[in-house]
Symmetry: C2
Subunit: 488 residues, 2 copies
């Protein structure tokens, strides 16, 4: 028999040194966050750094210190940027100092929250209960934390699809349904909806993209018409998706009207509230979001407008039985027990795709407790008011044009000049956005609205201040004029 | 206009205090991991703790200190247990001190790795290149990090389904295919395969579960027969799934034979190597795993046998075009640019479900660099030898019976006595497992093999030592005898 002493472990040989490294990291990371405003909003990776990130497979140990040094030199200085006060790209949250520490705690405990009887399961239950309460869902509703909005949308649609009483889609597949199973959303719906419909085997042809009005909200009359046509054609409509905040402009679909149609037509009502759902915390926004709480399922992200680090999405489902029916599988090696680790509340694994699941609930739990929901309410409203402020600044600037209404936290605008035609205007604004990045001034991203290239500012950032938007407007005008002169 | 000074942030008002809290957490977490062996392998949550985890929605701030104190009292003492040296439940990895710090770093940078030009994208590319090299995939193969094996299996099957040349499943759905699209796996395949087939709209009837031999490996003759029958019946076979390590016993399917059949029959070959794939690092295991590298797609987890904290799964795909074809969607607000943040390598979002993606690559990158792959190679082999050692101990004990061969790192056994019939034996072993948990001795879990309830020990734990298995055997016999006496 081998000598036991030859056995090794990943635990540090020198815990004192590991502890010291941990302390150094905490100091470095706190410094980094505390001074992030002094850094450029984005900077390109120099070629040498890209080379440094192409090393051969490390067979022998480099040690913790060396690995960390590489991180400090080649990774840390070139972030995506969403931690920066002047980052408003896509819809990315900021993260926080507490969130960063919470991830360390979660990775220490490293509990698998697929199920079983242990604290992390109860923490997630608690977080879900809080989410239901925040967003107007009943305590007996169901829910689960997921990686993000794409997964939450996929799951909402999967539950809707599997909830059809007449057909056993889980068992017999989509082909058991005699007709195309159609889903309805606005032309502004998120790309993840299309991905979900494709993944579920429905085919993207089954996704009916309904036109929007000039406020980028789904046109109800058009929906009703398409729905009736589809029924006449023998298709099988089963779900309407309402946007609580579209990704392009933050538009909120007429959710009450959609809920009414779903009720009348016996369709599943799924609400994609990836970021917008959380605006419901702000009393002034509740009228616009009315109807959201009538969703049979609601998808939203806590890593967006709750400013938590990735990944933290959530799906709420009104009907617990429908949720269970869509996903429950209990293989023999997971058979429940009365006592011990294999006891505990119903397994989360039966409410989603994942069997092994990380402890993403912890950062949410700690953040809600530490900051209190009133704080988030104020911060979300602050972002909405910042968006309105930016819109005012844009409208007050003859060189800029507001490209869409600002119902929520997204502002689309562009630089304009009578000397430019539409193509040239698109070109200039494209160049303008890249210059804003490259000079490290700010990170808006872009989109197309009615064929126009526009700069898009999505504010889910607790570090932004009003003066940051003043900088954006001032610099957009200055660089826009520079580019205009260069064209002449 | 409002006063700017009313604006607030989640950043700490007192960075010094936040920093001190971070230092305290590092010390507490290091102490916790360093002394984990002195803790019970599992302990139940007292009723008061469950009550403490049912608080009303916190509206007002409790502060970081109070929130952390709650964590220390109500969460930390009641982990799932996979950090403990005598935890061998399900197939959960251990995590590590470095992994825990890495998660803090990743959450600080908080980069969205959906795409764009920033360091985290290059780190993930690097990690994928290393994974390909480790597991015998060519450098031009494709891949992506995902939440875990369930997602990797779903994606592998989605790519296989969408790769069919004759039909455009993404566009027209499953019903465009004239016949049931069938998938083949052994009866021992993981439950996530069934979930995937259901989610993809194929219906679980389309999943052909082929019988296994006495080593729990898929019977090739039976597969060939079913395949031929399905073709005759007009079904459309498109994918065979091979197990590189089944969850019940660690059985490895005849992968070369399956690869040959796929080649001949023009089927996609997906390998579920959730934990077993990484055994290929061990030269002594390569014969058993031969054929794995021929998979059109390979799913495996780095949070299992690489001992990294949750979540870290990976999918490798031989044909990059097929991978892209399955998922690419480019909405207008993600249109690529030449420079700035919206430039960079092909977006990861086009290779999977998620658009926003966390920086899970960092912990892998740091661990590979710091420890070196040779270390993992030795640790994985150590776990395999520990499994063989446990099997020897079981076989040397007349009170215990080895319930399945031990090809890898999983040992199934049970307590036996001539005084018990099969039902009583099942009852006693069920009780035995719960007692082992409740007394905090060790955490095996359980499964059923040929109708027999067995204790199941899956060793993906870098903290386990040989003496830990001696404890398990000794205590199983002792408690088994106690229970036996109680029955009489």
């Amino acid at each position: 028999m081998e000598n036991h002493s030859t056995e090794e472990t990943l635990d540090p040989q020198d815990w004192r040194a590991m502890r010291a490294l941990g302390h150094r990291m905490v100091d470095d990371m706190m410094n980094y966050l505390q001074t992030i405003r002094e850094q450029p909003a984005w900077r390109p990776l120099p070629p040498v750094v890209k080379e440094n990130l192409k090393q051969p497979l490390p067979l022998t140990p480099q040690g913790d210190e060396k690995a960390y040094q590489d991180f400090l030199e080649n990774v840390l200085p070139y972030p995506h940027g969403n931690i920066h006060p002047r980052y408003w790209g896509f819809v990315n949250g900021t993260g926080s100092a507490l969130g960063m520490l919470a991830e360390m705690l979660a990775a220490t405990v490293n509990s698998n929250v697929g199920g079983g009887d242990h604290s992390a399961v109860y923490v997630e239950q608690q977080v879900l209960a809080w989410c239901k309460e925040m967003l107007g869902y009943a305590p007996d509703a169901s829910g689960i934390l997921v990686s993000g909005g794409s997964m939450a949308n996929l799951m909402g649609l999967a539950i809707a699809r599997n909830a059809l009483a007449e057909f056993d889609v889980r068992n017999d597949g989509v082909r058991a349904v005699p007709g195309m199973m159609t889903v309805y959303c606005s032309s502004e719906a998120h790309s993840s909806v299309q991905k979900a419909v494709e993944l579920l085997g429905l085919g993207r042809n089954a996704l009916r993209k309904i036109p929007v009005d000039r406020h980028h909200r789904l046109e109800v009359a058009s929906l009703e018409k398409t729905l009736a046509e589809d029924r006449r054609a023998g298709h099988v409509p089963f779900c309407i998706i309402g946007n609580a905040g579209t990704v392009n402009t933050g538009a909120i679909d007429p959710l009450e009207a959609l809920a009414d149609i779903c009720q009348r037509e016996k369709l599943w009502f799924h609400v994609d509230g990836a970021f917008g759902a959380l605006a419901a915390l702000v009393p002034a926004m509740r009228t616009q979001l009315a109807g959201m709480q009538r969703g049979d399922s609601l998808a939203f992200d806590l890593h967006k407008w709750m400013y938590l680090p990735y990944e933290a999405g959530c799906l709420l489902v009104k009907n617990k039985a429908a949720h269970e029916k869509a996903f429950t599988v209990v293989p023999t090696y997971l058979a429940p027990h009365d006592r011990g680790l294999m006891a505990g509340p119903p397994w989360f694994a039966n409410y989603g795709l994942q069997l092994s699941r990380g402890f993403r609930a912890l950062k949410i739990w700690l953040a809600f407790k530490s900051h209190g929901i009133d704080k988030f309410r104020r911060l979300i409203y602050q972002n909405i008011r910042q968006a309105r402020y930016l819109a005012q600044l844009v409208e007050a600037s003859p060189e800029l044009e507001l490209a869409a209404p600002v119902p929520l936290n997204i502002v689309c605008f562009r630089f304009i000049s009578s000397q430019l035609d539409e193509d040239q205007t698109n070109q200039l604004n494209r160049e303008l956005m890249m210059e804003l990045h490259e000079r490290g001034i700010a990170v808006p991203t872009s989109t197309f609205l009615h064929g126009k290239y526009v700069l898009r500012v999505a504010i889910t950032n607790h570090r932004s201040r009003r003066e940051d938007f003043e900088v954006l407007v001032r610099e957009s005008i200055r660089i826009g004029n520079e580019l205009l002169q260069r064209l002449q």
